[in-house]
């Protein structure tokens, strides 16, 4: 789980709230993006990103210095997504353009709707785990070994999910009528 491109190892247990704030600033986007791309809902993403960092703060003594902070946080975020799924019994996906609480301009809505087409296809066609594996590989550039450990499957299982995701998404995108 240690990666060459990681920043210097931090001892989270010794960080005060200022140090922790720096961790939040550095990793917020990764955590938020994972949750958002898993659930497709901005409010859930905000809530679970906060919950992830809250859990991290409360468990900071368990963080092993020398391991990758980003992967540790992403694992907590992945678990938070699973917890939410359990609490709700199922995830209710809300399409981006129909979110009533999303106070954005029509132009921004259009931009999101177009660029988010792939996300909607993913939400409709892939299981949560397949979506998460695809995201962690493509966006976070994690190894299959890290991904397997993070989402709780085997390395082979992670590869299978990646294969599924790419097969289905590539087909859907090629079938999609061009605008």
């Amino acid at each position: 789980m240690v990666r060459d491109d990681d920043p210097p190892r931090q001892n989270l247990g010794e960080l005060g709230s200022d140090g922790f704030a720096a961790v939040v600033r550095e990793h917020w986007t990764s955590v938020y993006r994972l949750v958002y791309c898993s659930l497709g809902d901005a409010h859930d993403a905000e809530d679970l990103a906060q919950e992830t960092f809250l859990r991290a703060w409360n468990r900071r003594d368990t963080f092993q210095p020398g391991t990758c902070m980003r992967v540790w946080l992403l694992r907590i975020a992945a678990n938070a997504v699973c917890d939410l799924a359990r609490r709700r019994k199922r995830l209710t996906f809300i399409t981006l353009e129909h979110d009533p609480a999303d106070e954005q301009s029509p132009a921004r809505h259009l931009e999101l709707a177009e660029a988010g087409a792939i996300l909607r296809i993913a939400l409709e066609q892939l299981s949560e785990m397949t979506r998460m594996v695809f995201h962690l590989r493509v966006q976070e550039d994690l190894s299959f070994r890290d991904i397997a450990e993070l989402v709780g499957t085997t390395e082979q299982g992670a590869r299978w999910h990646m294969h599924q995701a790419r097969t289905k998404l590539a087909k859907s995108l090629s079938d999609k009528p061009s605008a």
Partner: protein, 305 residues
């Protein structure tokens, strides 16, 4: 090295470095093969589009709100949940305490359960891939590629009895599917599988387990569409059937039709939380309404003078 090998490697995103396939050989194949080059380019575009998914404008505001709470006087910040997802602070605190109390076990247990459920899904897809592959060599390759990993995953997964039985049946059927290319026999096989998945769906719906309903409905739709209907199309295109095979086909059509009716009945009884997924399963079956009825009508017409 053929296109199948190359495309599997591209789809698996193994960075063109799979053991046994020299990188140079892969690159050469892609350079010379238009289909593989197109797939590589499509996949690169897919990755780019995914990376370019814009985050909502509120993402940064949420971070700033969180940081503002972090700097409040108490070191355990008051991270009140907001808007639709209203879970009070005490509930967050309680869940953290439970997680800590279990020594972090919760953090591991939940994804493990996901992984277990996911084995069944992988097995169903594996069976469907075997049935959809046309050449015997391709079937054997698909069988060999996944048999040992899936067997190991089934052994290691903590599955409920119903899923364990289903997983073992799917494992046992794979070699048969690799050997068999008779569309009618394959459709029979997937008809049995659809029955099992329908029972799983019904039980999950009765138990109010909407997550399991969703998974069962998804698998059921795939099996009906790719395992039964597509094979029936092949059978019909193949022309006249002898009496025995005609009877078997009729039984399949009736069975498909009965399940669709049962699905409609299930939808009426199902709790709200399960209905969306059942409707989705019905939509797949309904796209061909009436394919079963059409087939019965066609057969009747053929019998008429």
């Amino acid at each position: 090295m053929d296109c199948h090998n190359v495309q599997q490697i591209l789809l698996s995103d193994d960075g063109l470095s799979v053991e046994g396939f020299p990188r140079a050989e892969l690159s050469n194949h892609i350079a010379q093969c238009e289909d593989c080059r197109r797939l590589q380019s499509d996949l690169a575009r897919l990755d780019e589009e995914w990376r370019a998914i814009p985050l909502p404008a509120s993402a940064e505001q949420a971070r700033d709100d969180f940081l503002a709470r972090l700097s409040e006087p108490t070191s355990a910040p008051a991270f009140a949940r907001r808007r639709r997802f209203k879970v009070s602070r005490w509930l967050i605190a309680a869940s953290i305490l439970v997680a800590l109390g279990l020594g972090g076990g919760l953090f591991v247990a939940i994804p493990r359960a996901e992984a277990s459920a996911d084995v069944v899904e992988r097995l169903v897809d594996w069976n469907l891939s075997l049935a959809r592959a046309s050449a015997p060599e391709e079937r054997n390759r698909i069988l060999a590629d996944h048999a040992s990993d899936l067997s190991r995953d089934v052994r290691n997964a903590s599955l409920p009895t119903e899923d364990k039985d289903l997983a073992e049946a799917l494992l046992a059927n794979a070699p048969w599917l690799a050997r068999n290319a008779d569309p009618l026999a394959e459709a029979d096989h997937f008809n049995e599988l659809a029955n099992k998945l329908f029972k799983r769906l019904s039980r999950a719906s009765r138990g109010g387990d909407a997550r399991r309903v969703a998974q069962s409905a998804r698998l059921y739709s795939r099996v009906v569409e790719l395992g039964i209907e597509s094979k029936m199309d092949v059978i019909e295109r193949s022309g006249a059937l002898d009496f025995e095979r005609q009877r078997r086909l009729e039984r399949l059509i009736l069975s498909d039709s009965d399940r669709m009716n049962a699905l409609v009945a299930l939808l009426e009884r199902a709790p709200d939380s399960s209905r969306k997924e059942i409707r989705r399963a019905l939509k797949i079956t309904n796209q061909r309404p009436n394919r079963a009825a059409e087939r019965r009508a066609e057969k009747k017409n053929r019998k008429s003078p």
